[in-house]
């Protein structure tokens, strides 16, 4: 007869409240998969927006038709001598037409419209000293406006990182609820088995042995539940219809490549969390049973 299997059996099957642990672990893991996906996607989104937008800017020149060539030349000269600017190119009229087409239709008589001239600027490093550049442009070419997208970029990046904070907070809350449920289940199981504890004490079992017998069963249940919930969550993400590139924000939710490994940590973390909180509960309860 070996010690192992019986050591596992000294606690009677706890019935319903153990099922509660499996079920909650499954539900919590399912939610955790989505929170994790959201947190990673919003981080990626914030990053890519911040990066893509921070390195480009536009100079818009609005002037009388007879002045526009001169001002353009002057702006280009200013940009060329400004540190922090890698390149500046005047946007071709055809490109500009392409940009406007969705709004104004294909047959655009561009020559007839008093369109502003656009210069695409690529920045590098931290970009130019924007305040200084604006002052110089105002002096040299009064019709030119330097637009580095910051105005509309900042709230987007902020929203994305706020979204990430919420997702992380959700993960913390899910963990908290999980350990509360495990704590409850553990203390119910222990109180329902006072007689078992008393007999075990009588034959010389230590708190550690008794606690482990309870904790092992509960944390295994939590692990099994969390594994199931995680699998379901990942399957649900995989089954999300691909919205294509039309809705880039939606397309970003989910895991990509190696980041699919991340949700696999959910069952492991659940197990550790369940073990720790039921162990703490067990020792607490055992201290009160003599």
């Amino acid at each position: 007869m070996s010690t192992g299997p019986i050591a596992d059996l000294v606690v009677p099957k706890a019935g319903q409240n153990v099922w509660l642990v499996s079920l909650s672990a499954a539900a919590m893991a399912f939610l955790a998969v989505f929170a994790l996906a959201l947190s990673m996607s919003s981080a990626r989104l914030a990053d890519s927006w911040a990066q893509a937008l921070s390195e480009t800017a536009t100079v818009r020149i609005a002037a009388q038709p007879d002045e526009i060539e001169a001002q353009t030349a002057q702006v280009l000269e200013v940009l060329r001598t400004t540190p922090g600017i890698a390149a500046a190119t005047v946007m071709a009229q055809s490109d500009q037409a392409a940009l406007l087409e969705p709004w104004l239709g294909p047959d655009l008589p561009l020559d007839m419209l008093p369109l502003p001239r656009l210069i695409e600027v690529t920045e590098f490093g931290g970009g130019p000293d924007r305040q200084g550049l604006r002052l110089r442009l105002a002096a040299e070419a009064p019709g030119a406006v330097y637009d580095d997208h910051t105005r509309w970029r900042r709230p987007l990046v902020q929203a994305a990182s706020r979204l990430q904070s919420f997702a992380l907070l959700s993960l913390v809350l899910i963990g908290g609820v999980m350990s509360a449920i495990v704590t409850l289940a553990a203390s119910v199981a222990l109180s329902a088995n006072r007689q078992v504890i008393r007999v075990l004490r009588l034959v010389g079992a230590r708190d550690r042995f008794i606690a482990r017998a309870f904790v092992r069963r509960i944390s295994r249940r939590a692990l099994a539940g969390a594994a199931g919930g995680t699998a379901l969550g990942m399957a649900a993400l995989l089954a999300l219809p691909d919205p294509g590139s039309a809705v880039p924000v939606l397309a970003g939710i989910g895991f990509h490549g190696l980041s699919w490994l991340w949700p696999l940590s959910i069952p492991a973390l659940t197990f550790v969390l369940a073990w720790a909180s039921s162990m703490a509960t067990a020792f607490h309860v055992l201290r009160g049973v003599t």
């Binding site: 010690t3 050591a7 034959v203 010389g204 230590r206 042995f209």
Partner: protein
């Protein structure tokens, strides 16, 4: 092994016994007797540390009970075999698993053949796989004794171990305890069965202590 010094106990309704001083030496054999309700079970509980006395000092295996942690107490119980008066078991385990529990619960190795021998000695070989709730009172007492001695304790404390047994089985279990005592185990049996005490005195040098009138007395030779 176990010593009580100036021990009194009171559940709240007056002292059951006062100022008791006893020493259970290695290899000794004691009977504890007295009328029902005198406090025999209470005395036994104090002896294995389930109950802390109202006053006085209890020393278990050279350590002061008052300063022992729960782990210390568990460690001491590895060497103290107890037959509890109410014989509680883990009802979801088989009888054999229950008997082996003192070894399982403390991570000590179990010898299958020793376990079988023991089950045979107490006449429970046929019932090895039965669950405790299906046992008769006598079977429970025999199983409780088997559990108390499975780990080869230094001290055996048995509270009314033969209360539900016929005379033949009582004698058989008593002989088992006497045999253990000859091999060095200190034995303390609480009983009000005077026949049992007389039978034992013919086999072994047993001392009899009696709880009466709130004191503990060494009983005379009339037994």
């Amino acid at each position: 092994m176990i010593s009580l010094e100036g021990v009194s106990h009171d559940y709240g309704g007056g002292a059951l016994f006062r100022d008791v001083t006893v020493q259970l030496e290695p290899g000794s054999f004691y009977f504890l007797t007295g009328p029902s309700g005198a406090g025999k079970s209470t005395f036994m509980k104090i002896c294995y540390g389930e109950l802390k006395p109202s006053t006085g000092t209890v020393t278990l295996l050279k350590r002061d009970l008052a300063s022992m942690t729960r782990d210390d107490l568990a460690q001491a119980r590895e060497r103290i075999g107890v037959v509890h008066q109410d014989c509680s078991f883990l009802d979801h385990l088989t009888l054999e698993q229950n008997v082996a529990l003192p070894l399982t619960a403390t991570g000590r190795p179990i010898s299958d053949s020793d376990l079988e021998d023991l089950m045979g000695w107490v006449g429970l070989t046929d019932r090895a796989d039965a669950k405790p709730p299906t046992l008769s009172g006598g079977e429970r007492q025999r199983a409780a004794l088997a559990r108390a001695i499975v780990a080869g304790p230094s001290v055996l404390l048995a509270d009314e171990p033969t209360g539900n047994l016929d005379w033949e089985m009582s004698q058989r279990l008593l002989m088992l305890m006497i045999e253990l005592n000859r091999m060095g185990t200190a034995v303390l049996i609480a009983t009000h069965d005077l026949n049992l005490i007389r039978f034992a005195k013919a086999q072994v040098q047993a001392r009899v202590i009696r709880i009466a009138g709130r004191t503990l007395q060494l009983a005379g030779a009339e037994l």
